[in-house]
Subunit: 132 residues, 2 copies
């Protein structure tokens, strides 16, 4: 049995966040001590790992609850959710990569010079690109 602090350090999810997840119905402590403190089993720990992982993947709390309740009995459904989400993640990567390129340009290509303001570089993709 683990205390909330223990599963917190083991999963990297902060203590108040775990309590928040409990409130949201994602997780529940199997037991409480005499003094009302949460005690989690190995199962709870794994469930929290799952939640954390899924959050990292960008799934909403609703989606996760869905996965945790409906999905276990419905393989195809959870499968579908994963697949659906893949598209979104790829989109985000693509956008971020564009932005990365832009930041590199802002940082490097205008180094020290005054002609190309960072501000306008931010505002307009095509400005620095050919200029120098």
């Amino acid at each position: 049995m683990f205390s909330i602090g223990q599963i917190s350090t083991r999963t990297g999810v902060k203590v108040p966040t775990i309590r928040y997840y409990e409130q949201m119905g994602l997780i529940a402590a199997e037991e409480r001590t005499e003094g009302n403190q949460r005690r989690f089993s190995q199962d709870g720990l794994e469930r929290l790992h799952f939640i954390r992982h899924a959050r990292d993947l960008g799934l909403s709390i609703d989606m996760i609850r869905h996965l945790l309740t409906i999905a276990p009995s419905n393989h195809a459904e959870s499968h579908r959710i994963a697949a659906e989400h893949l598209g979104e993640v790829r989109d985000r990567i693509a956008r971020l990569k564009r932005l990365e390129a832009e930041l590199v340009r802002i940082k490097d290509s205008c180094d020290g010079k005054d002609e190309c303001s960072v501000l306008s570089a931010f505002g307009d993709h095509s400005q620095c690109a050919s200029g120098h």
Copy 2:
């Protein structure tokens, strides 16, 4: 002069969001009509483009305000902000890529089969990877 709706469609920033930005002190309509409707100049349009762009890059509203007020007169400062942010963006890309790989694994490697539950795949990186 553009109406709020016009700069909205031109920049892709929703009308209420523009008003929100105004409230946050990022942008202001140069004029108002007799009937109190906002009218933006070309400058306003560009400023909003900039804001949108910067938000896409993940800059906070505070950072953007900083860029828009302090930075224009201080090239080095805005430069520094951009550089500083590059690290964060790269981090995010790296994380998302790991997540993408994982989603692909979840989606593909367990396709149709029942042995490897999406749930446990979500919960544990290393589970599906070698299993089948």
